[in-house]
């Protein structure tokens, strides 16, 4: 089994050098989030209707954007896997799916916390809320499938098609629930908010983006190393017997 030789060489030297970088990276991106939030708090006046509750926007909206971005990575990784059949694309999709699941759950929880004092309800069957919740269960199904299939090649193939079909479903889900007419306001973005809030939102979104990228990269790296150990263990078992 010659193909296992090449990754082994790269791991023997790499981990030590990058090991500390991951912790430092984590501290840096989290500090950026704290800084962006401080900036948001200091620069934004209370909203006319919501008062200081507007500040929840600085965590809710960036979480939502980056959750969707992570889904795009899942879709891209799935398509690339089916096309190139290289394991790295599957591992990338899986890592992004884990991050997407966490960020989506956070988005929904934060929206709920915001919705209670402003709309008066924790939850309403509105298109955006409902489709986000369905997105979450689709991605949980994707991760469940991965955990139930042990054989890596089959797991990669299956989860890639499940990821792609799930992504195809998202616009239809949105359509179907939108037809109850929306209660949720259109998505907040720098162009629909007062200039006083725009920079706070932008900075927080960028900080969250960096956190998201760090998380996906770290989990991808872990997944790759896990695969390398698995392959090596397999080879050892084979070598021991033969």
């Amino acid at each position: 089994m010659t193909h296992t030789m090449e990754p082994r060489v790269s791991t023997a030297t790499a981990p030590r050098a990058k090991g500390s970088a991951t912790l430092i990276g984590a501290l840096i991106v989290l500090a950026l989030v704290a800084a962006a939030q401080a900036f948001g708090f200091l620069t934004s006046p209370p909203d006319r209707d919501m008062g200081h509750l507007q500040k929840i926007m600085y965590v809710h909206v960036p979480a939502a954007w980056n959750a969707f971005l992570a889904f795009v990575v899942v879709l891209a990784g799935s398509v690339m896997y089916l096309w190139k059949r290289e394991e790295k694309w599957d591992l990338l999709a899986a890592s992004a799916a884990e991050v997407a699941a966490v960020l989506t759950a956070l988005t929904i929880a934060l929206g709920s916390i915001w919705g209670r004092p402003t709309w008066g309800v924790w939850w309403t069957w509105d298109p955006r809320l409902t489709s986000t919740a369905i997105l979450l269960v689709i991605i949980v199904g994707y991760l469940a499938l991965r955990s139930f299939v042990d054989e890596p090649e089959r797991r990669a193939r299956w989860s890639a098609v499940v990821g792609i079909l799930g992504a195809l479903n998202v616009p239809i889900v949105y359509m179907s629930v939108r037809w109850w007419r929306t209660l949720h306001q259109p998505q907040s973005s720098p162009s629909t908010v007062d200039p006083a809030y725009a920079w706070g939102l932008r900075l927080n979104a960028i900080a969250f983006l960096l956190v998201m990228i760090w998380l996906v990269r770290a989990r991808y790296r872990a997944a790759r190393l896990e695969r390398i150990s698995e392959l090596a263990a397999e080879r050892e078992a084979l070598g021991g017997r033969g």
């Binding site: 369905i134 269960v137 469940a144 499940v162 479903n169």
Partner: protein, 228 residues
């Protein structure tokens, strides 16, 4: 492979599945019984007052179809995997889509038969006027069932091969069926009420769109999920 050969292969797979099902009977009877008891339990859950049951009837009917139908899909692969017959089927030259199409047809016939029995039961239990809107109702049931069976047959190809298949199939399938459920319930409500708001046609078109998208997507990717 010519079109005629492909068609005959599709029919052969479908016929084989249905024959196995007919010989055993346990599967079909069990699913019908499950559907009937679900309808009954919904009735108990919503209390003796007929008004809330009638309001919710379309939703209860579709949930019953989904909950009982999902029991059928894993079966269509399980029997073959146990007997090793699927691997033999896969060895035939030519694409694998005829296998999928055949299984889809067999499952479609199966679920439609289940509905033919359970919908009248629902009509009696929930006091629904079924006869006047019958043509529209049949159309909506058919469109909804096509989408349901397409994704059910597809995901069962994966779920039936893993541990915990009874959990995994609904976990994968039900979130995908949300738009189908919304549109099917909307259309059924509209049809049963004589479509007072004029929403029926929009829901039916959404159902048809769902069917087309997922029929096409499953045929494009079926090679990846069957076999090996």
């Amino acid at each position: 492979m010519t079109a005629r050969l492909a068609l005959s292969r599709v029919m052969a797979v479908a016929w084989k599945d249905l024959t196995t099902e007919r010989r055993s009977k346990a599967g079909f009877n069990g699913v019908v019984f499950m559907a009937a008891i679900t309808l009954l339990m919904f009735g108990f859950a919503l209390g003796p007052d007929p008004a809330p049951i009638r309001t919710a009837a379309a939703g209860l009917l579709w949930l019953t179809v989904l909950l009982s139908g999902v029991l059928a899909f894993n079966r269509s692969y399980e029997l073959e995997i146990e007997a090793g017959a699927l691997d033999a089927l896969l060895l035939y030259p030519g694409g694998r889509w005829p296998i999928f199409a055949g299984k889809l047809l067999a499952n479609l016939a199966f679920v439609l038969l289940v509905e033919a029995i359970t919908v009248p039961i629902a009509g009696v239990l929930y006091d629904l006027p079924l006869l006047t809107p019958l043509p529209g109702l049949v159309g909506v049931l058919f469109l909804g069932t096509v989408g349901f069976v397409t994704l059910g047959t597809y995901y069962a190809a994966m779920a039936s091969r893993v541990r915990a298949r009874e959990v995994l199939l609904p976990l994968l399938l039900f979130p995908m069926l949300v738009p189908l459920l919304v549109a099917a319930v909307g259309a059924t409500k509209a049809v049963l009420a004589g479509d007072p708001m004029g929403y029926g046609s929009a829901w039916i078109r959404l159902l048809a769109a769902f069917d087309i998208v997922f029929l096409a997507a499953t045929f494009m990717t079926f090679d990846y999920v069957i076999g090996e």
